[in-house]
Subunit: 334 residues, 2 copies
């Protein structure tokens, strides 16, 4: 099946530009594209899949004739326009958090729960970037030995906060190297040569929204309400790949070498685990790659009966964490 | 009591230079200093406590007349020279890992176990930097409600690898911003705009040496073999303060507000925990400070019966993580 008219909402953002690369590289079966954005970007010309396209203003009637729409402009834009696009007849793949936990909206990672797509009613949600990376790494283990508890600490790239955040990291770094004070606009803390708690709002339980997403979404994707996740989400001065340090408690004993063998043959996973050379996944190595890199696989001696493992996983936040996962979902639909 | 002759072994390193600042700021009771280093640095002139001192070559007979020696030149140097210094009559405070787990060597964090000093036999060990920061943050909680398990992921500054590593981070960052490839000499991975597994050797259990230190030293400092630690140690592109994301399982229920109140009145701790403004500890805020910053204190909903808490702690690795802790030990001796 080919899509006649594919709309990209948020085409000029960091994820939007990654959509252009992914769709082109994968020869996505689309006859035409329409790029949509807010008034700030409407009218600009953008290189897109070998052609130059003009960005159109996102407005209510714009979805007539669109049969597939990728939304990547934040939850507020999705809440305003996703239902309109759906009513106009488009299938929507939404990168925002707006509809992820809605019972009738499948939350899909193609390597994990492609079957969930069957029940879609016009809207499919793409999980949060940190969740996708964690889900790809943990699902192959979970399906053979149920995971009961995960403690995860993230090292998140600035790209998750968009193109302006990437520019801020570079500008601040130059300022610090030149001996001046870094100016913080996008983030509430300096991001150059610093680490800070994730810049999302904090709920009454003390968890920020990024942590809450990670703690809720994994259970929905895995279809297992018994998996509990305790998360700490932090930003680090890295451009575009997220790292996660993960401690896993299984229901039954899980051998370290069994886990490694499972991950080595898992879809979307690449194991880098060389203890002698001290080579493991890094965000630089993951940048621009489709796979989630997994390594540092080792037994957790603080969990009884050999039911504990630790590992790290790293994924390109703009790619598998956003645009690629959404395009893979669309490919399954096609 | 005043010390007549205080030797600093490794005086020209990153920690050595921090010793100069800390000793001066605290008006340390020393009549004179002798700066010792390898042949590479011997003969250089160094500003030290308001005077200019010449660095002497570290050799076997150099400790005659020294009554206190701070060692900060790595485990190999300590293994070669600490016993000589002790035999020459000096009390040694060793920053390396060489003697930390020896039964007759106290491993001391002054806020935690000053009483351990009483049994010293001429050698006192300063714990690993990540351990000190974690110990200062956890001890006030542990003494009222025993901690049974800790899962910790670190975000470690490059300064832990010395002055050359600090220079490498800066040089690599400049190179990347100029569009060239970063050159890795000190570290096995690029450190600019990257995150990587700690650059220490990896044991047969898959844990690197930094993780092993963290997992072993806390129990010795707390005098409680029942505390189990699972660690993941990573480097981040930050100059000199370490961040740690910590998940804690207590023996009994621990209320979040009780933990916050305990930490607010704990020695060496400063709580920064403003959920509304999203202000929490950062390595930039901890740089140059004596206290360990603690924040993000919240209940861990994945641990039963309210026995779980999560928090982050941040400390200046060169200061409380190394020079300051050693000087505080010496002050207790004086």
């Amino acid at each position: 099946m080919r899509f006649r008219q594919v709309a990209i909402v948020g085409a000029t953002g960091a994820v939007g530009r990654e959509f252009a690369r992914v769709l082109t590289q994968r020869c996505f079966p689309a006859e035409s594209y329409r790029l949509l954005a807010s008034a700030r970007s409407a009218g600009t010309l953008v290189d897109w899949a070998g052609r130059t396209l003009k960005v159109e203003l996102l407005r209510p009637a714009v979805f007539d004739g669109v049969d597939l729409a990728f939304f990547s402009a934040g939850a507020a834009v999705s809440r305003e326009f996703v239902l309109r696009a759906q009513r106009a007849g488009a299938i929507v793949i939404d990168n925002s958090s707006a509809f992820r936990m809605a019972p009738d909206v499948p939350l899909v990672v193609p390597e994990v729960n492609p079957q969930a797509l069957r029940a879609h009613q016009g809207i499919i949600a793409n999980p949060n970037c940190s969740t996708i990376i964690l889900a790809v790494a943990l699902w192959p283990l979970h399906r053979v030995n149920p995971i009961r508890r995960v403690v995860v600490a993230t090292y998140q790239a600035v790209s998750g906060a968009g193109a302006r955040a990437l520019a801020e990291l570079e500008a601040q770094t130059r300022a610090v190297l030149a001996g001046s004070a870094p100016e913080a606009r996008v983030f509430h803390e300096p991001c150059a040569f610093n680490v800070f708690s994730h810049d999302s709002p904090i709920g009454p339980d003390g968890y920020n929204l990024e942590e809450t997403k990670l703690m809720r979404e994994l259970a929905k994707i895995f279809g297992d309400e018994n998996i509990r996740v305790a998360a700490t989400c932090m930003r680090v001065p890295v451009q575009r790949a997220h790292t996660e340090a993960v401690s896993i408690e299984f229901e039954h004993p899980m051998d370290e070498s069994e886990a490694r063998a499972i991950l080595q043959s898992a879809p979307g996973v690449r194991v880098i685990d060389d203890r002698i050379a001290n080579r493991f996944p890094t965000p630089l190595a993951a940048t621009g790659r489709d796979e989630v890199l997994v390594g540092r696989i080792r037994r957790d001696p603080t969990i009884a009966d050999g039911r504990g493992l630790q590992l790290i996983c790293v994924g390109d936040q703009l790619r598998k964490g956003a645009a690629l996962n959404a395009v893979q979902i669309a490919e399954l639909l096609a």
